[in-house]
Subunit: 312 residues, 2 copies
């Protein structure tokens, strides 16, 4: 008999929830608002109620449900303790205990980036590869390490937080984390724009980027694809840093496949061409033959991964 | 009833073998020669015979033995395939299959550095910490990552090969791996001597190191402890690189404890003083409160860890 599993990916505005079969078939995905008032104390209750309502609607018994997993925007340790989730108002909040007390079903919890990595490993760009590195290129650089099919959580849930590995020595700007020269200062969408501004300031060469009030990362890649020479130079420099940071990470954990997700990944496979020269230059030879792929699940990755935690 | 487990740590000259209880009590540790002739085809048979002889001697039945683990000097994947172990003469050799066919007991295999890390996590400097990073400072820099009590093997057994993460951009000398600027070019014993020669060449200041024909890493730390100013400077520079490489690695996997082993670790806790300023500067804040400890098991670590693989 088919059994079911729920996954939830809680963000600061909405929580995505999904009902799946235990083989990963997507049956019903929907969203509810995230209520962050009063220290975020209603969030898990709302998710639990939404799951219970769905079970009623579909006539699903408790005995037919493996459980429910939840991904949250903050570090979560293996016992479900969330140290801090600023966007939800949580601090030292045990997500597993609280969620279980509301839902009365088996539950698991993890960091949203790690849970998304697990989703991509299960049903996305990393499907079929039990040792995977997800690199998420958005406003920042996130990541997740999947080791033998499971999330590498680390001591305090910061496993796979690769956006803050040190990459550049002479950086004068501070990263959001307080350090200087972090990977995400170069390889995030924000980092690409920052690199772009620096390169534009250092040359007088014409570029379509100069005609834009506030060019975005996407504009750089679009212009580069259209032959804009300065944009190409920025894209190459971006690829250099992206490849270097991935090389260092891959040399630590030796993934079979590296999956690139997040907004920047919409640039497509051109990213692989841009990052590979420096990846190959800097990676430990024993880790060199890692495959590269684009993420496939988009915003659903966290829901898949949250569900998959119950199926270890 | 007490059950037994065997561990073996195979080197190019000798194989250390140990009989332990499943709680990790050391009952009997001994060595046999490693016969590397004919592509190393006798090695596993010799280890298996030594274990069988010990079982006879101690009247241990097969049913009293959990199994035997083996650590080898080369990359080994989760299925026991050793890609290459130059010092043993092996290439694409399935250690688990071969060892099991000789011993007729449950067996497991791993890379020697990873297996030593597991030993230190079980009964050594990392005891009580399921998320541990071992950094071995010898001729090279080795390492092993223990994630929730188990070895992080990676796709092809190169998980934890942290000696080859890229650390320095402008290095002109090549590393043994072919890359330039690898962690082990600075943080190994050899690296310390190399740094020392560079610093001595750049100054005319007196130093006891100048009076030695071929000073070794130990001489640097001894001279630094005795107040030699140049030696102190070398030791500080060494600590800078050691702390930086550990910071990058820790930011990827978020260990609870970082255990320092290998010949250089005989310098003692002074190493922590030397590495902590740069560790704290470069590590992701979420990973900053990792503990540091010295390895405790010395050459026995591999035997303990090899045995522990059977007790997952």
């Amino acid at each position: 008999m088919a059994r079911y599993v729920f996954g939830a990916d809680v963000g600061g505005t909405t929580a995505k929830i999904g009902l799946l079969t235990e083989t990963g078939e997507k049956l019903d995905f929907w969203e509810i608002p995230t209520r962050t008032e009063n220290g975020g104390q209603y969030i898990l209750e709302d998710v639990a109620k939404a799951i219970r309502a769905k079970m009623n609607e579909k006539n699903i018994d408790d005995s037919d449900v493996v459980g429910a997993g939840i991904g949250v925007p903050g570090a979560v340790n293996v016992d479900g303790l969330c140290y801090q989730a600023v966007n939800l108002g949580w601090e030292n909040y045990n997500v597993v205990n609280e969620f279980h007390s509301k839902l009365k079903l088996p539950v698991k919890a993890g960091n949203d980036a790690n849970v998304a990595a697990l989703g991509e490993a299960w049903k996305g760009g990393g499907q079929g590869y039990p040792n995977m590195l997800l690199v998420t290129l958005g406003t920042g650089v996130g990541g997740g390490i999947i080791n033998e099919g499971k999330i590498l959580t680390g001591a305090k849930g910061s496993g796979g937080e690769i956006g803050h590995i040190h990459l550049v020595d002479d950086e004068v700007d501070a990263c959001g984390c307080g350090n200087h020269g972090c990977f995400e200062q170069y390889a995030s969408a924000t980092g690409a724009v920052r690199l772009g501004k620096r390169i534009l300031a250092a040359t007088t060469e014409d570029s379509v980027l100069r005609t834009m009030d506030n060019f975005q990362c996407k504009d750089i890649f679009d212009a580069a694809k259209n032959g804009d020479a300065v944009a190409k130079q920025i894209a190459e420099r971006y690829g250099y840093f992206l490849g270097k940071g991935i090389a260092i990470t891959a040399s630590v954990v030796n993934p079979e496949i590296i999956v690139i997700g997040g907004g920047v990944s919409k640039a497509g496979e051109i990213l692989f061409d841009l990052l590979k020269p420096s990846f190959e230059k800097y990676v430990f030879p024993g880790c060199k033959d890692a495959k590269f792929a684009l993420a496939k699940l988009g915003n659903d990755a966290g829901v898949y991964g949250a569900a998959k935690m119950l199926l270890y």
